[in-house]
Amino acid sequence: MSLRLKLLLLGLATLVLPWDGIRYAREMEAALRQSEQHALQAVSETIAASLQGRNGLLYRDPAAPAPARLGAYDLTPLVLTAAPYIDGYPDDWPRDPGAWRHYGAGAHRFGILTGVHDRMLYVLLEVRDPRLVFDAPGASPLESSALGDRVWIGYEDPQGAQQQEFLALSGPGPIFARRIEVGEYGKETAVEDPRIVGALQPTATGYDVEIAMPLSMVGTDFGVLLDDRDRRGAAPLSYGTLRSSDLHTLGRLIVASPSLTPYLAQFMQPGMRLSVTTPSGAVLAASDELAVPGVLAPEPGILTQIYRRFVDRQGEPPYIMSSAPIYDAAHHALIGKLQVTQAANRWEGLRDRALTRLLDKTLVTSAIAVILTFVFAAHLAVRLSRLRRASETALTRDGLVTQFPETSAPDELGDVARSFSRLLGRLGEYTGYLRSLAGKLAHEIRTPLTIVRSSLENLESEEVSPAARQYLERARHGSERLNAILVAMGAATRVEEAIGNADRWRFDLTPVIASAVSAYRVAFPERRFAAELPAEALEIDGAPDLIVQLLDKLIDNAVDFSPVGGTITVRLRREPDAAVLEVDNPGPPLAPEARGRLFESLWQSRSGGDSRPHFGLGLYIVRLIAEFHGGSAAAADLPGGVRFGVRLPFPQAPLLPNYNDNAKLESI
């Protein structure tokens, strides 16, 4: 894992900040919700307390005792949000199965749904009647033989008098309510009551009837009775919410007082719903502004919506609810219940603004931290890799110390670079000292050696005993060896000098190599030489003298490492861009530690035992000369031998003046 990646991961750790922010926001929200719940509870209890004992405010009939339990014939109308259209079809009534009351049994039964809206009482009857019998058309509604099915309404008027009216089923569509008035002489007449509107529609199982009438007509009690006939004029089967026998035992109509809704309205706020129910749970009055958007909950922005996705808990109801009981004045009987519902997101705008600000800040902080970390890491990595490159290239192959980039960075990395620089500087001084040591040594030894040699030579002219002459001879021999060592030590310096002074010209390698190989056959009779030379000319730019010297060193090396009688192969061949000169010898493979260092100055792997001085300069000279020609030197193991090769690139530049000496060279 690169340093850059590690630091980037470290930077990403700052993302814990927004995550923490989200958690904080959630906790805040939970706390907020809880406190709102408490507040709402307080509100509901306050409102409930204000309603305590105020039966008259709750119910239309202030005298009526608190309906602790509903009687079988009591009706609790729904509080309708809109007036149903009186057409006999039930589709504009709320679908609320729990609000239906059922009467009758078997084939003769009906369900009744009552509702109030805007001081009107609405009744929906869903009657099961296998045989719907209409009144005879045109007949008087009081003529008993013409009577069909009939709906009776019984109620107590505000004056406390019992009233009954009937709706004769005259056919699909509007039906009318009539009251039987007993005139003089006991004459009964059916008087149409225009305050009551009704409509009928047959259904697959019977028929539906819708009735609307002003609440002001009705006092405390209200009931419905059906006269079900199987044929016109037959004796009816009567059943309903009032006892059929006398039409007088009515159930109560439990309805809120008209002033309850205005009373509740003063507590209303946007995003809130207030409802007052009977102790059994039937809604008396409700004021609903839940759907009205709160002034503090504007449409959230895109960023906020994204944040909400992280913050909102799944499955949390969007409302908070609270309820409080309403007691009578004596505070021992329940007369109703107050229920308050409030949109949970009432303070959404405020909260979102805070949340957005929090998350924006932490996200920006994280992003800046990540970017800064990344930039820093990249910068660090660049500096490190620069340092690495510099340290890799500071030492050249021949141990030369090149320039190390100076840095003034005042940090630890700068310290490393500076100590590296210092280290390399010292190494450079050391290497330079080592490199010049051989030359200096040779120079310094030369003078005392000259003293020794000239003294010995003078001594040879003196009269000395034969025994002394023997020592003299040994001393002379020793001094000669010492001289040979000096010459060998200075060899590389002299080759470097020769290279510095060398002239380049274009010449053909083939005859030069051929000529040199014939010379080696004479010089090293104990070795065989095989020459594999191309038939064509291989022209390079350079100094043939130096090329021969290079070959001399390769041959010296090959002779040293090959057994007597071994065959040394000298090969010259053409490659696309260079002439390749190779010398194969059947000697032992290269020492592993020698690989890559063979051509360095002062490197040698031979184990001595040879009277000739070796300073590991031969192959270094090979490399120097190869590099002078723009080429390179390499060594490789062969099966059963070793190959030293030199690549000498063909010239790119235009022709140098051809050297006339070379043109006339004959091979020998």
């Binding site: 030369r446 003078n458 002299r494 000529s515 040199a516 010089a523 043939p544 006339k664």
Partner: protein
């Protein structure tokens, strides 16, 4: 009358050894340790030949300066440079100042004495009347006056140092024969390494080419040596 050889050398042991060898050969020897001493003595009496070390005490190139001064006193006085250095640059500058030979100190005393003798012989030959012909080698455009160590190419004088002259002489005596480096060293009474021989040959070629750019008589036989071609 004995010939006077001046040795200017800051190393007393070498100086005395050289002096002893020359004395043994029958020369009169005066030895000096630095340039001031030498110049003071040369002002009184010029030697017949001077052997000068390039570096003298605290003057790394005091020998060159001395050579220049000596040459201004006498144009003919043979001067041999001796040095512990083997830099080719030294050799070139030494010879440009008009030295007759430039030798490293690893030369043997015998070789040194051979050179000194040869230089005196040349001096003698030069003093003889010009009409008197000595031993001459003629190879085409080349004329070698062995005694005067004078070389002419196409009738123009080529100025060679003693070592160079001996190398040319060894090669030109047997044209077409390849002489290897060892043979050339023997002929030149000198022990040199291969690179030094190569640079001597290079210098000889350059000197001939300066009088005749088409000069091509001294050829390299790679791996073997050199030969003179008529």
């Amino acid at each position: 009358m004995k010939r006077l050889i001046a040795i200017v050398e800051d190393e007393p042991a070498i100086r005395d050894n050289y002096a002893a060898a020359f004395t043994r050969e029958g020369y009169l020897v005066r030895a000096y340790g630095n340039r001031a001493q030498a110049m003071a003595a040369f002002g009184a009496r010029l030697p017949d030949l001077a052997v000068i070390d390039v570096s003298l005490e605290d003057e790394p190139e005091g020998g060159f300066e001395l050579c220049r001064q000596l040459r201004s006193l006498s144009a003919e006085l043979p001067i041999i440079f001796l040095t512990a250095r083997d830099s080719e640059l030294d050799a070139v500058s030494g010879l440009r100042l008009g030295a007759d030979d430039f030798l490293t100190k690893d030369i043997s005393l015998a070789h040194l004495i051979a050179r000194v003798n040869a230089l005196f012989r040349r001096l003698d030959a030069l003093r003889r009347p010009p009409g008197e012909q000595g031993q001459m080698v003629r190879r085409g455009p080349l004329t070698l006056d062995v005694e005067r160590m004078r070389v002419e190419w196409t009738a123009k004088v080529v100025l060679l140092s003693l070592t160079e002259f001996w190398i040319v002489h060894a090669l030109a005596r047997h044209p077409g024969h390849v002489k290897n480096r060892q043979q050339l060293m023997d002929a030149a009474n000198v022990v040199l390494d291969d690179n030094t021989i190569t640079s001597h040959v290079k210098r000889i070629r350059r000197k001939f080419q300066s009088v005749d750019p088409a000069f091509d008589a001294l050829q390299t036989v790679y791996g073997m040596g050199y030969r003179w071609v008529d």
